[in-house]
Amino acid sequence: MYDIAIIGAGIIGTAIARELSKYNLQVVLIEKDSDAANGTTKANSAIVHAGFDPEPGSLKAKLNQEGNRLFGDLCSELNVPFHRNGSLVIAFREEELETLQKLYERGLENKIPDLEIVGSDRLHSLEPGLNEDALGALYAPTAGITDPYLLAIALAENAVGNGVDVKFDFPVTRIEKKEGRFLISCGGKQVEAKYVVNAAGLYADKINEMVNPPSFKIKPSRGEYFLLDKKTGKYARHVLFPCPTKLGKGVLIASTAHGNLIIGPNAEAVESKEATETTAEGLDYVRRNAEKLKKGLPFNEVITSFSGLRAKTDHADFIIEEAEQSPGFVNVAGIDSPGLAAAPGIARYVVDLLKDICGPFEKKDAFKAPSKNHTPFMSLDTETKEKFIKDDARFGRIICRCENITEGEIVRAIQGPVGARTVDGIKKRTRPGGGRCQGGFCGPRVMQIIARELNIEMTEVKKDNPGSYILTGTTKGRAVGQRESGPVGKCLSRDTGLKIESGVKENYELVVIGGGPAGMAAAVAARENGIEDILIIERDHELGGILQQCIHNGFGLHQFKEELTGPEYAERYIDQLKELGISCKLDTMVLSVGKDRQITYVNTSDGLTTVQAKAIVLGMGCRERTRGAINIPGTRPAGIFSAGTAQRLVNIEGYMVGRKVLVFGSGDIGLIMARRIVLEGGEVVAVIERKPYSEGLVRNYVQCVEDYGIPMLLQHTIVDIKGKDRVESVTIANTDLNKEPIAGTHREVECDTILFSRGLIPENELSKGAGVKLDGSTGGPIVNEAMETSIDGIFACGNVVHVHDLVDWVSDESSRAGKGASEYIKRQEQSLKLQGFTFETKPLNSISYIVPHKVRSSLIDKTLELYMRVRGNHQDAELVVKAGETLVKTVKKKVLTPGEMISIKINKADLPTKPFEELSVELSKEDKQQ
């Protein structure tokens, strides 16, 4: 029998558990879900409020003030991020200045330190970039930001380290009072305790009513949020609030503890305690209101949207008291804002209350400090990082490439009594999947690590609660064993004939980042042009990049004059690398590229290493646009994949991602995956496309969709996703010419899986870090005819520059980059100066971009090749190339579509020899624009 049972492992339950673990008591923490911090704690603003807002004399006022005061020490003890960056409540109208004054006075009464009312000038210097009409603000320097779920988990771990038991997947179904004790049941399971603390959040009323007559009712209030990519956090130095109204604190803008930007919430009363879906209306409200504070917020950097429920009651204040009818049963309910800030205060208050009820507690002689360090590997100093890798090589293997999270951290998150058991559990603790690709790349790997560490099958790995299965089986109906090699096992030890470089070498002539089609072709071309000292750095355990999962045919018609599959195409280049003896480092992640061409990489054998290159070729490829980035409202269950992630799981890993699949977007990967799903025994309910035409190649439409009788719904979009644990259905609607849903056309389609095929984005985080200038329309670097970026000696090619339709063009372009890099190296050695003049290329009217952007006339070989794409569909069109006003060439095209890349070859002889500034391309005849 336990002395005390705490129901609910949110921030409140875990804080109380940890506080109680300081005493000689038998304590159990009970949670209905599979993990701590899974309700309100998982989805909120993550703000530690200063405490000027609550009614003086209330529990909220007292505990907010106390909690905020305790927060710094608590977080540093537990190694959880907390930044006291201060908050600003901003007034935009005269009458709001009065509100500020009232808040200020209330703050003084609540004993909030360092409050200050600041005028317009001071405000704009404290927080640059606010809308100009901001008149003044209440400045509260003690407000801060934290990571609430990491905090709750750290609290639970510290509690367990000091003897508290935790029971997950224990939704309480019954509580009986019996002779001075409570019998707490979950189906057949039972826990006995002398005292009960009800910290069940949204369900606190239900738990209370298991033993007591109803005395309060939890009325969930939903708040929706946007989360923006890392580094956008700088848009808010402080936590920025509008003036509060009767509805609440309003839509805030703040940096998160990890440097993302969070924008929200709205406040909407909802019936269900599980209504954590987002809505188009709610998110629109958030966006409009945020822009009242600050215009020009980078909503194009949104990586996801989410919603959380606040456990409101009719009482204005927290309810923290012993139930009248049940001595020993303490309700800790109605903990809405400022619940997070107040949590440390609440924990102490509840312990004091329990002491009053049960008599004095005996303090433990030795309260143990937290055993686990949650500090992200990447935030450690270089020396510590190196030590970590030396002690455990898994810290040298990056799994999440958006957030640079190592295998070591993921394993650490799984270990221990409150270790992660699920993909979301890992995400809460170390954030893989919390970045811009939203788990597209690392998801399958994280699942493999979970399966390996917990000794379960991949198919048993859940996103969150037991119903949230991710995989629906294996392909071929045949088992897949544990992966013995690759990124989550020991490094590839088999002899593949590839020259794998071991050991650190400080200087290279050429370093190629990325061993996909771009990097391989660049390396081959550089060697053929006389560069001996080349290194390819690849993050995966093998070369070939995305080609290895593109098992379909259609590659190589231009490059090899025969039709190959993706892996065959890759192998042709891998064979060339072997013949040429070009060195590679596999399973190696580049962390940064400097403008002086230093490259810092990490892997398990070399640790953290910086090398110097004479030239660099960037070939990192692209990533998929996620559901989060395109703001599709609804719930966030398992069963939502980007098409490429599904492709990897099905084709390489041998797993099925769904039984009844809807494909959103008619890009080629989506169409090809639709066919794969059907051939592997699944059902594709439809492919839906917002535009009036299919985006993929005609061939893919015919051979992947039509051949299999899959309905293709053009001019349709998803307006809602339903399903708590796994996708259950999708609401679709017809779209108008602006691709917006048309009212009254909504209908529900049953499915368990959604594949998003909504376009690709060049992956330029390393390029940005180096200071490479990017083109807004391609998303890739601005390059010259040799594929050199704005930084001397740094070249780029393939999908990192612009998304190609055919890999054959990637190879062509990359050969030029490799050749360009080798010529650059030679020129440096011979200190040669370039002759001639430079001109820019200029896309006009329907041409959306041209690569290259700049051309040095003296470096054109015999022909200059321009790559471009058009906006819209065109028939019987004519492309006109002009140098300044001089006509250079016209090219007739029967048909032009945005999905197809256009290339125009221009003979050097046709270009004017006299200097000119611009080479433009335009569409002259647009007879039948669709």
Partner: protein, 124 residues
């Protein structure tokens, strides 16, 4: 022949994606009437696609003793379209042991068609 034998097809040869109506000429089953397309190649495609539609089938087979659990494969030649599902059944029956070289025949003379299933990558 009546009109009900007319088949709607989309030409896949270029991005135009011409919608074609293909039907057999009355009394001349060897000859086809192709409407909706002008170009020669398109008409040739229509003929092929009407008389004997074929596809390269790509898939994977289960493999052991290798770094990855599935080996990508394809048909060595285009397969009659009607045999795709039967071919999948055959492919799914296979379980092989690595290492394997690209081009290795995994299934010989698939369904008596003289078409092989071959490995499309080397896997060790």
């Amino acid at each position: 022949m009546n009109e009900s034998t007319t088949r709607e097809m989309i030409c896949i040869l270029c991005p135009l994606g011409c919608k074609m109506q293909v039907s057999e000429k009355p009394g001349q089953p060897e000859d086809l009437k192709v409407r909706g397309i002008q170009c020669k190649e398109g008409k040739k495609y229509a003929y092929e696609e009407y008389k004997n539609p074929t596809r390269i089938l790509t898939s994977t087979v289960a493999i052991h003793n290798t770094t990855l659990p599935r080996l990508p494969v394809k048909t060595s030649k285009p397969l009659p379209k009607g045999l795709i599902y039967k071919a999948m059944d055959e492919i799914n029956k296979v379980e092989i042991t690595g290492p394997i070289k690209v081009g290795t025949v995994i299934i010989e003379n698939l369904l008596g068609t003289d078409i092989d299933i071959v490995a499309t990558r080397s896997l060790g």
